[in-house]
Symmetry: C2
Subunit: 153 residues, 2 copies
């Protein structure tokens, strides 16, 4: 994956959390991911296709998911339910959709988001793809974004 592809996703994530959930996130480490140590309890996954093919994973803690969904739905939610999972899927969708407009030369379309739960879940990209993982922190907890995007030849 070309490293310059990651920046639109980083800025899109920051803007999306700020606008939709009213929380500032700080970018921490960026790593070429080789293991799964950054996966939190809830992960949104959405595919991208066009002149490049790929996927993004937005992984958040339960605590962060509850706070974000409560803010988005303007009601206090105390346990993980369908509304919370839909909110994480929608954030994933908006992050991908907003980044794709900054990568217009790739003519990307986004698929539907899936939301994965399960305390010990892991999400792998194909071995021949090295996704870039960006960790973020916020006052509500940590999150991570993983992007794997390969030019279609």
């Amino acid at each position: 994956m070309r490293v310059e592809y990651i920046n639109p996703f980083i800025s899109s994530l920051s803007n999306t959390f700020s606008i939709m959930a009213g929380v500032d996130v700080q970018r921490e480490q960026i790593v070429m991911k080789k293991d799964s140590s950054f996966i939190h309890e809830i992960s949104g996954v959405i595919g991208l296709s066009g002149r490049a093919a790929g996927a993004i994973v937005l992984s958040v803690s339960e605590k962060l998911a509850l706070r974000v969904a409560s803010k988005m739905l303007m009601t206090e939610i105390k346990e993980i339910n369908d509304d919370v999972l839909d909110a994480i899927g929608e954030l994933t969708n908006v992050i991908a959709g907003s980044a794709k407009s900054e990568l217009e030369e790739l003519h990307l379309n986004v698929s539907l988001p899936n939301v994965i739960t399960g305390n010990s879940h892991d999400i792998r990209f194909p071995s021949n793809v090295t996704p870039i993982c960006v960790q973020f922190s916020s006052e509500w907890g940590d999150l991570a974004l993983e992007v794997g995007l390969e030019d279609v030849v």
Copy 2:
């Protein structure tokens, strides 16, 4: 999701397992999925986008994954490793790619496959999408295919 969209995926799955893994699968129940009871231990997920947006989930037992990967790689594999997970991702990719050619009016492109593991993992579609889940059986174990695909308006 239009029910007629499911048939290309069913025939694609059967053909793909027959050709790539040399195993016949029998179609069992088809349900409009409302819960997650058909998820097995390993799931491949791939996004679809174009005039419709969606995703497919191919979920298989560990036992079936080992048998299928052993056949595809022509060597006996006894535990889940990167090669096995890549094999499930590749099967997911081929099933989606082959079905999309039968749905050419939708101009679908496929994203990159992600492979999810974790004994208790669950994979949700957005609440406003009702995916169709098809269960299959084989001499090597059970598997399931879930397809959610919505026309883009």
